[in-house]
Subunit: 384 residues, 3 copies
């Protein structure tokens, strides 16, 4: 950006973000195939030989925005990018990319992935504090393996783990989706379902009764409950993750905050729900990374019906440390494109645009998760 | 706009609109909470303490476009806006905002809201004629309370009221949605359902048989039948208001015009139906107000498959007189943004863009509702 | 375009396209009503008297982009356009419009339409080679009318016809949609269903068992299977053509390539599937023509989740030769608008944009259909 950079552009460039939904970075070395597959969210199989993870919006965005962090020119070719990346360990990559994100706090879903950093390691590598988000389906597995009554064990484990956490998370979307009864089951139903699941070995939870039992326990904790919505890998039926299928559940969800994550291609429906329910929030996390040059269009759609105090930022980074950085970079670029457009058209004032950046970037998350708001200092290396 | 304003911009600024779906303005004083809640369409509860109706696209649009009508600068803060508004009665506000809309005719749905203006009062306050649109579910309540056979009473009341009206309206979307049998019920079915409803007290109509009986009676009148589609408050299941669920109904609807209102987030599906059926029309009314700075993107999507002779204008204003004005203001700004873009890209000529403005702004509605077309004089105070 | 036309603009203007899904051009003379109806895809009835096919995005695009080919100014009025067009035979029109498309290869669905050109005639009129895509529902009718066992007859006819073809095509979308069991039926089920259909006269195939039998036979051939998705006429239930309803089918489809055609308004869902499955491809064909000035917005949405090696070009032209040309013209203009925007924003490099043009324009199709890639010489008369 030039010396005549607008106040809005400058503010967006430096604002510290609360990344309210993120996973760990890789710890172990891997080959190019692993890296390219990590650039494809939806496919659960190895990419076809004729295909390349680099030839996607995300792949283009990595080579554009992440290359300079590795000392490469923007838009560098896949081979050169891969070679530069290969010269560093994943830990070294994390030490480069995490601080460059300009994130003040990481809220980390610890329920997925081996061989990735935990909360403390992410905090240490980035130099900024991390907090845990507890995954309800993981609590379920622990409860099933604990002695005694399943429901009591679930409640006890959840209470203990949630006491140190800032929120809970459910991947119901991956375990059958939302087009089903999501009301709270009876004690007897839970006991029966738990017995059945324990008899079967209690590995991956797909039992609908236990899934919705977990959801309602999560609500009862009162801390924000994050729900995976929309875009994910093809193990979830995308059409069964339309958040409008949650309407009945939301109507009975009380006052515990519910955060709809990712949301693509249902971001407009999610925005409607954020307007319709005092306790519903939206976040486009994962989608922003995967949309690359189209992220501004997506962010603009998120800014339709959702009230500005109900929208959050996240990267949903998982695996390559590039993604933790890129989420912030694409969000900064995208929100600038959209809001500068509103200002240029005379629809918003620049001061209001700056205020909305703060709301989405950190103020809403700080309020929701009871965190001190983002450090005003932003990224050092992230350009505009 | 500058002195070199394009012909298209000037035409859009002054063209008189037919507001083909609108409600009354408030008559009674209210507090700030009432006003802020009126800026949120979807939520049926009071807004949360941490939230504000001013921090939404609609809230920003009010403070941008309505402030000058109250003698305030654009983008004024919520407190100052509220104070200025509070100094006037609702009647005084209506006298300011209604004429500023540049509307030549108001087509008013009289079936909802106490303490709002009726057709004649709206006409008097605005200085422009109003016409009634009769709500079918209101006729149903009257028929249930009338003596004798329900079906005959419905037909008689509808015929009498429709004779003075320009069209009918159904809120089937709020009474269970479209994913059900919408064929015409038999006489026996109607009689039985009516008896049951009368026995229950005949208050809010939710009986599916009587709802679809009303729809088909509405069609039989031959005047345009307006259908609420999509965006509304959370009493309707948004996913059950997808207009594609009307396909079977539309296939059997004959030649009576059917107007799909609001349509968000299904405006592209609605446009498809307007192309697929000679008797289907679309109107993005309510959505335009609630999308504020994003209204141009919405209006652009409405201009995809819908034939240009099948698109209509409305504000769907209800309550604050700001909304009757703002609908027109945002439509003018939005259609200008979109069509000027088509012209600048070389895709449309300016003359064609002007013609399409006239079609959507008033010619289509005048033809459909058999009105004299819009007065060429537009708003006095509405800027571009 | 000016003399300072960018490399990207110049490349797009001249790149030869593989039109991977197209039908024949009209051969017989017709009146203005036929022509105007051909500008409306969704309506199966004659257009209403008050309406005009010229007052749509497609109608505007025809008068803008096709007029110069007829020696008329851009944006010419409907009457003048029609008069100029009427002075020529359909064959003469094809000789003008087909070469102007800059298409190197036509992949032609021969399963629909009388009185239109076949593969060889299209090739002869355009001066570029044509290839056949065999429609599975047409094979079904032939098999039903053949002697002996239906399944064997189907397999034999398909094998014979597919040997000379580059792929197969199914219009399952028009025969009940995707929201049903699409697994492979048993031999006994097929025999029984075939008997029933033969007894009924074996005209239009709507039997679900035989439809899915055909699909799986198509997959077995191993050549690309094209599926009509989304936008079509109102004989298909648009909501039952959402490609997400294909998830279970795709999960069991093996490695045979499946090409999702048209896709409107589900292009983002289709893009997701192209990312989720190694064997899934997307193409926005028909939609581009019907969206006219809005085609760039549609093409941009197609460039969200779909990997760039999985996106194809087609016109889906059928009837007026204008459509075979216009598809290419609108695609060139639209992809230029979108990619030049990515480049201007600093998100893509120009070299990468040019490479993606080649992928979508011809390289992907050449690889998929095993064709020699597009001739580098593009259209002679098509301007930018």
């Amino acid at each position: 950006m030039s010396t005549t950079e607008s106040d809005l552009a400058q503010h967006i460039r430096y604002v510290a973000l609360i990344d309210q939904h993120v996973h760990g970075c890789w710890l172990t070395p891997g080959d190019r195939r692993r890296f390219e597959n990590a650039l494809n969210e939806a496919n659960t199989e190895p990419l076809a030989d004729f295909d390349s993870g680099f030839d996607t919006q995300l792949g283009f965005a990595v080579r554009n925005h992440c290359a300079p962090i590795l000392g490469l020119p923007k838009h560098v070719g896949p081979q050169r990018y891969w070679e530069a990346r290969s010269r560093l360990t994943e830990i070294e990559l994390a030490r480069l990319f995490l601080p460059a994100a300009g994130v003040s706090n990481w809220l980390m879903d610890t329920g997925f992935g081996d061989e990735v950093t935990g909360v403390e390691q992410l905090a240490q590598l980035s130099g900024r504090p991390g907090y845990e988000v507890v995954r309800l389906e993981q609590i379920a597995v622990e409860a099933a393996r604990a002695a005694g009554d399943y429901a009591s064990a679930f409640e006890e484990i959840l209470r203990r783990r949630a006491a140190r956490a800032v929120g809970t998370k459910s991947v119901l979307a991956y375990r059958g989706g939302f087009d089903r009864d999501l009301s709270e089951p009876s004690t007897a139903q839970v006991a029966e379902a738990a017995q059945r699941w324990r008899d079967e070995g209690a590995t991956r939870l797909t039992d609908p009764v236990l899934l919705r039992f977990g959801l309602h326990q999560g609500l009862r904790i009162g801390k924000p409950l994050q729900l995976h919505v929309g875009l994910g890998d093809r193990d979830c039926d995308l059409d069964k993750t339309n958040p409008l299928l949650l309407l009945d559940f939301l109507r009975e969800s009380g006052s515990a905050p519910i955060v709809l994550l990712h949301c693509y291609p249902y971001e407009r429906e999610a925005g409607y729900l954020a307007q319709a329910f005092n306790n519903v929030y939206v976040d486009g996390g994962l989608s922003v990374n995967h949309l690359g040059a189209r992220a501004p269009a997506f962010l603009a759609r998120l800014l339709e019906l959702a009230p500005f105090r109900k929208i959050l930022y996240s990267s949903d980074g998982y695996g390559p440390a590039e993604l933790h950085f890129l989420g912030a970079m694409l969000w900064r670029n995208g929100i600038h494109r959209v809001l500068a457009g509103f200002v240029a058209a005379g629809d918003w004032s620049e001061a209001e645009a700056i205020r909305v950046v703060d709301l989405i970037g950190h103020l809403n998350a700080a309020r929701l998760y009871r965190l001190a708001s983002g450090d005003p200092r932003g990224p050092v290396t992230a350009g505009g």
